[in-house]
């Protein structure tokens, strides 16, 4: 039971990292990114390829330390966000949404088809688990601590950033782009920075995910698991509020995995139906929140509004 709880919290924490990254992009800057799964995959594969021992099937075998993998995941995700941002960030927010879905799809196609790089649909296995041999049974507990530490660092960075003049400009852009432009702010640059930083956070989340599961394949980065759940988490918790984002991650993941436990008692013949039913449930939950409490459970960080009213 305890071991399940630890497992549950680890996954929850990884989703929390994703949700924090998305909150920076959407909640604080108004960037509509529905390509979360793409950055997740980029982070996971980058770290996996860099830290694994050599194998003949695909690129990799650099045997680099875990921490290098994590940092590289952030950097590569950031670079991809930069490349994506250049052509898309000048577009309307809904165009950006369509563009990010396309990017996530292309990343998925690459991961699926470029076997020399990613081993294709067979996926990458044997991704090193840091300090695994040292810790043995207590490993998951250690990993939970690690996730919490990473989460705390990211949370701290975002809060500091948001309360700085930089964060104030971000929110001004989200509220009224024209005013921000006339105030002499380089709107494009600030949005690009937010997109990159958010993507780097997602990349870190992806790397942490890869090292925990030790196996990744294109299946793990489908839009449902990779993007949609993260969005539901953010909307339910409250966009524009980092604590809300984390609360949303906890609640949504509880519902998602809770229903998984329930449906696991069903006969195996209808497991695919049960899986579909769980997605419908999450979809309905999202619509109900949008209709009844669009600001989410916690609503926007009160600090945010007070800053804007200055």
């Amino acid at each position: 039971m305890i071991s399940y709880l630890i497992f549950f919290l680890i996954i929850c924490g990884i989703y929390g990292i994703m949700t924090l990254g998305l909150n920076l992009q959407w909640g604080y800057t108004g960037l509509f990114n529905i390509g979360v799964a793409g950055f997740w995959a980029v982070g996971a594969y980058t770290s996996a390829i860099l830290t694994k021992p050599p194998v003949p099937e695909h690129l990799g075998g650099f045997n680099l330390p875990f921490i290098v993998g994590i940092l590289a995941a952030a950097v590569v995700s950031g670079i991809i966000a930069f490349l994506i941002g250049i052509p898309t960030l000048r577009l309307r927010e809904d165009y950006l949404a369509i563009a990010t879905i396309g990017i996530a799809e292309i990343i998925r196609l690459i991961v699926k088809n470029e076997e020399w790089l990613t081993n294709g649909v067979r996926g990458i296995s044997g991704i090193p688990k840091p300090f695994h041999s040292l810790l043995g049974n207590a490993y998951n507990f250690f990993y939970l601590i690690l996730v919490i530490v990473v989460l705390a660092i990211i949370y701290f960075i975002i809060q500091r950033g948001i309360q700085s003049p930089w964060g104030r400009v971000l929110r001004a852009i989200r509220e009224d782009e024209e005013v921000a432009t006339t105030a002499g702010k380089d709107v494009f640059r600030y949005r690009l920075e937010s997109l990159i930083l958010g993507a780097m956070i997602m990349g870190v989340g992806g790397a942490i995910y890869a090292h925990f599961t030790s196996f990744i394949s294109p299946e793990a980065f489908k839009p449902m698991q990779g993007t949609f759940l993260v969005w539901v988490m953010l909307i339910i918790g409250g966009s524009g509020n980092s604590l809300g984002a984390l609360l949303g991650a906890l609640i949504t993941w509880s519902i998602w995995s809770g229903t998984e436990i329930l449906t696991s008692f069903l006969p195996s013949a209808i497991t695919t139906q049960a899986a579909a039913f769980r997605v419908i449930l999450i979809g309905v939950l999202l619509e109900v929140v949008l209709l009844t409490k669009p600001e989410g459970l916690l609503g926007e960080d009160p600090h945010v509004s007070s800053v804007l009213k200055e």
């Binding site: 052509p87 799809e105 619509e287 949008l290």
Partner: protein
């Protein structure tokens, strides 16, 4: 040369399907000012409704076709009244998020009812007909072309000749003016959903006839649908038709130079280029 013509011919068939789907997407985008991310899954729903009537209830194909279109339109109106109508007061991006949720609900509803496996309207294999110059088409593909042309003409007449169709174009032009003019905008919105749903259901059924049915068939076409819509100019149904054909043919032709698995990426690249060069689209108005 033969390969080239064959690819163009395949591209036109795919283009027909994309065009049918994107006409409604474009109109809804123009009128409600949001990208309906559930449009692809509405397409799938139409295809499965036809499967229900044709295969499961044993009706003739033409009847299944019409009934499936009607039932899809009905679902679209229900969804609009329950979800989108209330969300219309808020920012258009909230509508977009709502439609992402609807997309998932629809797709998984389909999976719940009909299962994750592929389905077929017809088990038989069709012998291709040889056209000139070595190009081969299946009889079904000719059917797809004919049905598409017929539906496009009907849609055109609807938009040009009926009061409701003109009101749709008017609302796509200027929603505020439409309101003060005395147009019953809620009524027109309902009809727009009907038109969009009917056409996209038809696209789904034709796609099912051409290949097979699967729960993600429409979702996989969402990117090409948006690409066609943006290429043609948002709110311009005629642009969407043209855009659909361009995207369909380009996707097929791209296989000459890149692996076929990257076909969806082609639609995306064309869309991105269009957004960078001329965001109003080929036939769009200046915003």
């Amino acid at each position: 040369m033969v390969l080239l013509l064959q690819l163009i011919s395949n591209g036109i068939i795919l283009g027909c399907i994309i065009a049918l789907g994107s006409i409604g997407l474009s109109l809804l985008y123009g009128i409600l000012k949001f990208g309906n991310f559930a449009h692809g899954d509405m397409m799938t729903l139409g295809a499965y409704f036809a499967f229900l009537f044709k295969v499961q209830l044993g009706m003739p194909m033409w009847a299944a076709f019409v009934l499936a279109m009607a039932l899809t339109a009905f679902v679209a109106i229900i969804v609009d009244q329950i979800i989108y109508k209330s969300l219309r007061k808020s920012d258009s991006i909230i509508l977009l998020i709502g439609s992402v949720g609807i997309a998932l609900i629809l797709r998984n509803f389909i999976q719940l009812i009909w299962g994750p496996q592929n389905h077929f309207y017809d088990k038989g294999i069709q012998m291709p007909i040889k056209l000139g110059l070595g190009v081969r088409v299946k009889p079904n593909q000719i059917l797809i072309l004919v049905v598409t042309v017929a539906l496009v003409i009907l849609a055109h007449l609807f938009l040009r000749k009926t009061k409701m169709g003109k009101a749709m174009r008017a609302m796509s032009d200027n929603m505020d003016l439409a309101k003060v003019t005395g147009i019953n905008t809620e009524q027109v919105i309902k009809w727009t959903w009907v038109l969009g749903a009917v056409l996209t259901a038809a696209a789904g059924i034709l796609l099912g006839i051409d290949t097979h049915l699967s729960p993600s068939m429409g979702w996989n076409l969402l990117l090409p649908l948006f690409a066609a819509t943006i290429l043609g100019g948002i709110g311009s149904p005629y642009g969407a038709m043209l855009g659909g054909l361009v995207i369909g043919v380009s996707q097929e032709l791209s296989t000459l130079i890149i692996p076929p698995t990257y076909k969806p990426g082609v639609a995306f690249l064309i869309m991105l280029l269009m957004l960078l060069i001329k965001p109003t689209g080929l036939m769009g108005r200046s915003v």
